[in-house]
Amino acid sequence: MAIAHTDVAGMDRPAGRLDIGSALREYTGPWNVRLAAHLLRRAGFGGTPADIERAASHSMNGAVDALVHFPSTDALPQPPQLFDPRAMLRDMLFAGQISLKPDDTQKREIGKQIRQGERRSLIDLQRWWLNRMIQTPAPLQEKLTLYFHGHFTTAAIQKGVTPQMLLNQNRLFRTNALGNLRELTWQVSIDPGMMLYLDNARSDAAHPNENYARELMELFTLGVDQYAEKDVRESARAWTGWIVARRTGKSQFVASRHDNGSKTFLGETGNWSGRDVVDIIYKQPASAAFWATSLLNFFLYNDPEPELVSAVASLLRKNDYNLAPVMSTLLRSTIFYSPRAYRALVKSPVEFVTGTYKALGLTQLDERAQRALVQMGQILFYPPNVAGWPGGANWLTSQTMIARQNFLAGLVNSPEMEQGGWMQDVPMKAAQASSDLIATILQDDASATARAQLASYLNGSGTSALGMLSAENYQERVRGAAYLTMAMPAYQLA
């Protein structure tokens, strides 16, 4: 089996040598707060100090069990009410703002109202999801939902993709979070949002559109160089017949639009349907290697070695592409807790923002955080293109860094900070306060020098004698010190 090793720009592999013999074997070393926090960052959105303590008080296996067995999430807030263009039209008609046969001016007004309504809905939907990431008792489920959103990308407010379709797609990812990749690929293929975004809804036997057929293989399942142009054309023919019904927004198969001829796809000949295409793709060893690379890049470290990709690919095939046993093995593995994987990823903006709320013990995020995410370069339901967010070093420029640091500065100085509760517990001795902040926020990932510098800041060095940590300026100094702790390089790394 030839695995095409693609070395992607800005995706850096850790230094040192991989011991492939022990990599996927269960980790048996010491278990502590640092590794518990590492697990929560990777398999979730970080943790509150209490979450981290709890995970550390379990065994490693106990902590992983608590993540891979999703508890009920019924108590979480329901999604927001989304914009309904039909209800809007009814209201406009009733109010006499439009007639049954609208003229050009009225049509323009309708279009404008729809765009505004969808935009508002999208912002509400983003906030609901971000809050869910912070509040969920099943963080791994939400983390995988985010992973799939970046993998099977669909973007809103273009090509007729509505916020409601994205919510439905988001539920699809959540339902299949530790499910079967083949089944999920099939469900995504006939998901209305995806069908509109990548044009399968506009394809028929006479004019097959190749957009989805290509991306399905290139970006979702196999990778470049694993198929020929002819496979794209044949797959496009097999996908014909699927449409998104205008009235219901649901996907639907219309036999008269389907190309019933024989197709030869990846070497197999028959009257294939879209479902057959998915099944044939998953027979290719390259699909296991592709998913292994993608999962390792997201959960372990970037640019994983071919040997490691190969080992995880075998695991995927052995488990018939069921993700639950594969993720369970990965999260318990020796390589996962090795120094090579520790802080080896750059936090995505979403991880950075949600993780900060959790670290500070805050549970409710607002539009300010959403605006900051735009500046940091990650807008949920609005990936830059079908390839998703590039990740790694690509997240970091001086402008996105200013956005990250200013978000932190804004948050620590906001009134909400008092809700977290822990600020009152920071001791009023500078050296102790500095140690506590570095332990709580960075799990001690700072040097002794940095610790001393933070203490010296808390003591008011560089200001007048009044700057010294005192009952009067305690809150302000602690806020400043919390910011500086999070401004340290370790905090950018997951």
């Binding site: 070395d7 720009a9 800005g10 850096d12 592999r13 230094a15 050009d104 323009r108 973007a155 273009q158 090509k159 970006l219 470290y301 970037n302 520790y342 802080r343 080896a344 990823l345 750059v346 735009v374 500046q375 370069g377 830059p384 293109n385 079908v386 390839a387 590039p390 070093a393 690509n394 970091l396 420029t397 001086s398 402008q399 860094m401 200013i402 640091q405 200013n406 500065a409 804004g410 001690d444 990932d445 700072a446 040097s447 002794a448 020098t449 940095a450 510098q453 800041y457 560089g462 200001t463 700057g467 400043g480 910011y483 500086l484 401004a487 340290m488 390089p489 370790a490 950018q492 790394l493």
Partner: protein, 405 residues
């Protein structure tokens, strides 16, 4: 650290020896032309006309009867066109740019596009920004130039985007390009307190960490840049006196800031500004005329300002838009997404005139103008003949250059 060696970084010498055309282009750019500065002092300003500028109502084919048939309500009347010749001319809103043209400082490149055009704003913008239509490339063509050009490593302003978010064209693998919307919004809030500022500086330089990470050095460097860059920029441009009548528009403000950065000692080679939106599906005339007028007035003010500071010959300005628009107007007195359109090159180094064949309104691609000049030829021209770098690696292919520069 495991990072791809940039092809031209490692093979630069060989590429140069193997390709005499590049050697020539490089020599041409390195040697100051009469009255022009050498490549090391030259600067490129890119103006993105966002949303798809309608080329036909910008450079108007007033000699073509088909134009008037296909656009009964929005065609620019023949008598209003600022004629270049008896076939084409400028939209009357572009009087200030016509003046640059008359001074020989402006080139019009007609019918620019690319094969198999995409009609999505998002994808087509990305194609122009990455200059790689065939795949999803995440670095931009200007980002790859900045990586490849071996510019001073410690300079934080080799490239600058005047924008909220870094445009994809400037996304680089190894060059940190700041996106600066306005000078007073670009900076760390925490720097407002001196003790916080000095603590930040010390803490981001923490190099005795109890863990290793492939990204640690990168993170520390970017955190440092975020502080240094925002401290240095206001100092670099302090005391500048603009000498152009900039319109009070976002583009006017952007180009005014660009002129300040160019005049400073920042050593900036590439600047990027944005203007729009040109997405004129309905009632096109009012919107497009206003935007073209703003573009022309801002460009004129920009070059007046540059000239007053002795920088006009150092600066080449290039416009681009993700696509042109449909030839026939739609039912809402607007136009839908199309294909080829003209772009402009302006500045002291430009050989003014009209380049590229005017697209045939009769021989269309399903109602869209066919392109005659690949946009990557314009990029190759800018890279080789202005910035003095071989373009083949940056553009991932070989494209003929145009004599406009």
């Amino acid at each position: 650290m495991h990072r791809k060696q940039f092809l031209l970084g490692s093979l630069g010498g060989i590429v140069m020896v193997a390709n005499t055309q590049h050697v020539f282009a490089r020599a041409l750019a390195d040697t100051p032309l009469p009255g022009l500065p050498g490549a090391a002092d030259r600067c490129l300003v890119v103006v993105n006309l966002q949303g798809g500028n309608d080329g036909l109502n910008c450079i108007v084919p007033h000699g073509d009867a088909q134009y008037y048939q296909l656009r009964p309500s929005i065609a620019v009347p023949r008598g209003d066109v600022l004629g270049i010749d008896n076939h084409i001319g400028f939209n009357p809103a572009m009087r200030s740019m016509k003046a640059l043209y008359d001074k020989g400082m402006l080139a019009v490149v007609q019918g620019v596009g690319y094969p198999d055009p995409d009609h999505s704003h998002f994808r087509s913008t990305e194609i122009w920004q990455t200059a790689v239509p065939a795949k999803y490339e995440h670095t931009g063509w200007l980002g790859r130039y900045l990586d490849e050009a071996a510019l001073p490593k410690d300079n934080l302003f080799n490239g600058v985007a005047i924008a909220q978010v870094l445009p994809e064209a400037l996304v680089a693998e190894r060059t940190d390009v700041p996106a600066i919307a306005q000078v007073n919004g670009y900076g760390l809030l925490s720097d407002r307190q001196s003790d916080s500022r000095s603590a930040y500086r010390k803490l981001v330089g923490d190099d005795r960490l109890p863990f290793d990470s492939p990204y640690l050095a990168h993170v520390a460097q970017i955190e440092d840049h975020a502080q240094k860059g925002s401290e240095e920029l206001p100092k670099l441009i302090a005391g500048y006196k603009p000498a152009g009548a900039y319109p009070a528009t976002p583009l006017g403000r952007s180009l005014s800031l660009a002129a300040q950065i160019i005049a400073s000692k920042a050593g900036t080679r590439v600047l990027y500004v944005q203007h729009g939106s040109f997405d004129t599906h309905i009632n096109q005339k009012a919107t497009q005329d206003r935007l073209l007028g703003e573009l022309a007035d801002a460009m004129k003010a920009f070059y007046d300002d540059l000239e007053a500071h002795g920088n006009d010959k150092r600066v080449l300005t290039m416009t681009f838009s993700e696509f042109g628009r449909r030839i026939a107007e739609n039912a809402s007195r607007g136009t839908d997404h199309g294909e080829a359109s003209p772009l402009f090159l302006a500045g002291g180094g430009v050989k003014g005139g009209v380049y590229g064949a005017y697209p045939d309104l009769g021989d269309t691609n399903q109602g869209n103008l066919r392109f005659g000049t690949d946009f990557r030829s314009v990029y190759a021209t800018v890279l080789e003949r202005w910035l003095g770098r071989p373009s083949e690696g940056i553009l991932q292919g070989k494209f003929p250059t145009i004599a406009a520069v």
